[in-house]
């Protein structure tokens, strides 16, 4: 267990175990087709978790509770901007990214310049976004996913994998590159690990942190667009289910909530792990009360493998 890459290995191992368990409990659960479908769902959560991951890495109790609201908002904006037409996709993507970036910017400014704790700022922002959704839904015509977008999310694109999987892989590579091979990546870890030292080394701490929130908003927006492609039509509050699970995915990926260490590769595994777990629970025929108890207890059990706090006595 001493392997330094432990969280990633643990997550991968657990995924395999869970798939085997799923196949045992409900034959067919681990079929190639089903795994692919689970991956699509995991990709949606994983993309949200990418932004969440960055914000958490940046330290100072970084967390973004507004991602769920941004996902919903983006799905609605995208639906309206493309209204079922492939020709509208580009505009929709740009519009959503802009909206996500703007929300992230406001979060970032609140957190850095006004120094509101991230949990509070983004929780407040979530409330605002939920209100905004109601206003927007109230006067704007329907939004449907363009066929191109739906196809991108659900239909095989290349080597039998749908576009969203490739997009997720690309995001994974991009994140790995960002975090390991760019000065910005070094900087993210530095402010997450020791903000004061980063400041004294001339790093633009505030700008960087604002950028992290902006990126989180943008990743959530991308997830929102993809979610529209997945469901076909937008509806209120689609993103709600991503708020806390995206954080759990990050934790299961080996990034502690205190920031400064970890990475995105683990988070991808964490997102898959969580999705598989939810999938198994769906297919097992027990009462909802039982499902929730098992889910809660399993989450706790899995957390024992990850990022436990330091013992008081060393």
């Amino acid at each position: 267990m001493a392997a330094l890459k432990a969280p990633l290995m643990v997550a991968l191992l657990l995924i395999v175990l869970l798939l085997a368990l799923g196949e045992y409990l409900s034959p067919g659960f681990a079929s190639a087709q089903q795994i692919l479908r689970l991956l699509i769902v995991a990709a949606l959560m994983g993309i949200v978790a990418a932004g969440q991951n960055l914000v958490i890495l940046g330290g100072r109790e970084g967390i973004d509770l507004s991602v769920g609201g941004v996902v919903s908002l983006a799905a609605i904006i995208a639906g309206n901007l493309m209204s079922g037409q492939d020709s509208g996709i580009l505009l929709a993507v740009l519009g959503c990214l802009a909206a996500g970036a703007l929300i992230g910017l406001i979060n970032g400014i609140g957190v850095t310049l006004l120094r509101i704790p991230p949990l509070v700022m983004t929780l407040g922002m979530l409330g605002v976004l939920q209100g905004l959704l109601v206003v927007i839904r109230n006067g704007i015509p329907s939004g449907r996913a363009a066929p191109g977008l739906s196809g991108f999310v659900t239909q095989p694109l290349f080597l039998g994998l749908p576009g969203i999987i490739w997009l997720w892989i690309a995001i994974g590579l991009l994140m790995a590159f960002l975090l390991r091979r760019t000065i910005l990546g070094y900087r993210i870890y530095a402010i997450g690990s020791n903000e004061q030292a980063a400041f004294m080394a001339g790093m633009p701490v505030k700008t960087t942190r604002i950028l992290l929130f902006v990126l989180s908003g943008m990743f959530a927006a991308i997830a929102g667009i993809c979610l529209l492609g997945y469901t076909g039509s937008s509806f209120a509050n689609v993103g709600e289910q991503y708020m806390l699970p995206s954080i759990i995915a990050v934790v299961f990926g080996g990034t502690p909530l205190s920031g400064g260490k970890g990475g995105y590769t683990g988070t991808m595994a964490g997102a898959i792990l969580l999705t598989v777990l939810q999938g198994i629970l769906t297919t097992v025929n027990i009462d909802e009360s039982g499902r929730q108890m098992v889910f809660g207890a399993t989450l706790l059990l899995l957390m024992l493998f990850y990022g436990r706090g330091q013992a008081l006595r060393t």
């Binding site: 070094y186 690990s193 004294m200 001339g202 008081l312 060393t314």
Partner: protein, 499 residues
């Protein structure tokens, strides 16, 4: 029979042997000094005795009886009180609450009256030297570092334990505070208490101790009676075979370079903690900032660096005005700053050495991509110049010893040469050999034309290295010592003059 005995105590953190074989014997009624280089394991040994670190092996005996101490609470019941080097205070609580934290008077409820009354007894011990704003009801957050250290001292004293451990209790105190503290310790000794005392200051050790135990590389190497040994022997024991080069720190400075061109010019600079500071600094000059601890020296350096921008006054660098509103801005102009508080200001803990050594280079060269191999090549010469010992660039900086961590932090400034180097007590908490390496390098850099401002809390470092010393008192410069005036006596006298 010795009151406290630690026998062959050991402790390993991951791959680090923090303590290999710690032995310690403390009698009743003695001040027992524990000395050793940084990282030799002194604090670890103390924490094991105090229950906050779990030993891997070894034995503890109290009055001859073997005991197992499972946590600090238990240590207290065994009569062990401790001053922690890194303090153990709750910032938002009051001084009184902190002093008596684990032993609040009253039952279910806190007896406030009793609390203040009891705490005041310990505060009264330092009557007259606690400084402004220090009271039973003050929150620790609002106190200065030396005042916090006093609270931690009072907290240790309040245990009234027969065995008291003080792990570097004087590092932030001024002389008056130290004198008072030593009086108290002598009184406690006379009462028959056992006192373990740690300090890196040789003079304190010989002023106070009865016996000294030297610890090297996690191993106890000797215990001597103070009156039967001397500083040279202690240092020899501390460093083992390689005692050569220790004297270099005290070597006379290079010739005065006043004639050289002015690099940094500071006029009437004021800010939080200092006022109306003016000086000119020439290329190749080492300007010392002296005086009692906490008289504005650090504040000036941080202001010049842009970490806490000055409120008024002028600064010019090589003839151009310097707008010191952020480190980022001043770094780009060629200013460098090394803080002695590496854990707070320097080390990016948990990250690889490469990431720790390259940020300034990346900033100055406006790098966007991090190409590890080329970064490594850039960093190597700077690390070698400091004789940094490290296994590889990919290892986390926390895998290094404190002195080597500080070298990494310093090296980051040297990859691209700065014009002005601000040193803010850079050797705080690092051991003699690392100090020697560092001052050799500083003098070399000066010789090559770098302008250097050095603040040190150790007078010897100033006297041995600075071409000129500005003595600070109450936030302003009260004396300037040049040439033959740079004597310990003058420095001492100037520091104690009224502001």
């Amino acid at each position: 029979m010795a009151r406290l005995v630690a026998k062959a105590v050991s402790k390993t953190y991951g791959a680090t042997k923090a303590l290999r074989r710690g032995d310690l014997e403390v009698e009743a009624g003695e001040v027992h000094v524990l000395i050793g280089s940084n990282g030799s394991g002194k604090s670890t040994l103390c924490k094991i005795v105090a229950g906050s670190v779990r030993p891997d092996s070894g034995e503890l005996l109290l009055d001859g009886k073997p005991v197992t101490i499972n946590d600090p609470q238990e240590a207290k019941t065994y009569g062990i009180g401790i001053f922690y080097q890194e303090l153990s205070l709750a910032a938002h609580r009051t001084v009184a609450e902190n002093i008596l934290l684990s032993n609040l008077p009253g039952g279910v409820f806190v007896d406030r009256k009793q609390l203040v009354a009891t705490a005041s007894r310990y505060i009264a011990l330092f009557d007259g030297v606690t400084g402004e704003g220090f009271s039973a009801g003050a929150t620790v957050e609002a106190l200065r570092p030396d005042q916090r250290q006093l609270v931690e001292i009072m907290k240790a004293l309040s245990t009234e334990a027969p065995i008291l451990i003080f792990d570097e209790p004087t590092s932030a105190l001024d002389r008056a505070q130290v004198d008072r503290f030593f009086d108290i310790l002598r009184r406690l000794k006379a009462e028959g208490r056992s006192i373990v005392f740690i300090s890196h200051r040789m003079d304190e050790i010989f002023a106070l101790g009865d016996r000294v135990t030297v610890i090297r590389d996690g191993e106890t190497v000797a215990t001597k009676r103070i009156d039967e040994t001397d500083a040279a022997e202690v240092i020899r024991l501390m460093v083992g075979g390689e005692s050569a080069g220790m004297e270099t720190a005290a070597r006379a400075p290079a010739a005065n370079k006043a004639a050289a061109q002015t690099v940094l010019s500071v006029g009437n600079l004021s800010g939080v903690g200092f006022h109306n500071v003016s000086f000119d600094l020439a290329a190749g000059e080492i300007l010392g900032l002296g005086g009692l601890h906490g008289q504005g020296q650090s504040a000036v350096l941080r202001a010049l660096f842009g970490a806490s921008p000055p409120s008024s006054g002028s600064v010019s660098l090589k003839g151009e005005p310097l707008d010191a509103n952020s480190p980022r801005a001043t770094i780009k102009r060629g200013v460098a700053y090394v803080s002695g508080d590496r854990r707070r200001d320097g080390v990016i803990a948990g990250r690889p050495i490469l990431e720790n050594v390259t940020p300034i280079h990346a900033l100055k060269q406006r790098l966007a991509l991090a190409a590890p191999s080329s970064l490594r090549d850039r960093a190597k010469p700077a690390l070698e110049a400091l004789r940094t010992k490290f296994a590889g660039f990919g290892h986390p900086i926390s895998s290094l010893s404190g002195g080597n961590q500080q070298k990494i932090v310093i090296a980051r400034w040297l990859i691209d040469r700065p014009d002005v180097l601000l040193l803010d007590d850079p050797t705080k908490g690092i051991d003699l050999s690392a100090k020697t390496d560092l001052f050799q390098l500083i003098r070399k850099l000066a010789a090559e034309g770098m302008a250097i401002v050095l603040y040190s809390s150790e007078d010897a470092e100033l006297l041995g290295n600075a071409d000129r010393i500005l003595v600070f008192n109450g936030g302003g410069v009260t004396r300037e010592l040049t040439g033959a005036d740079r004597t310990a006596f003058n420095l001492y006298q100037a520091a104690y003059e009224a502001a």
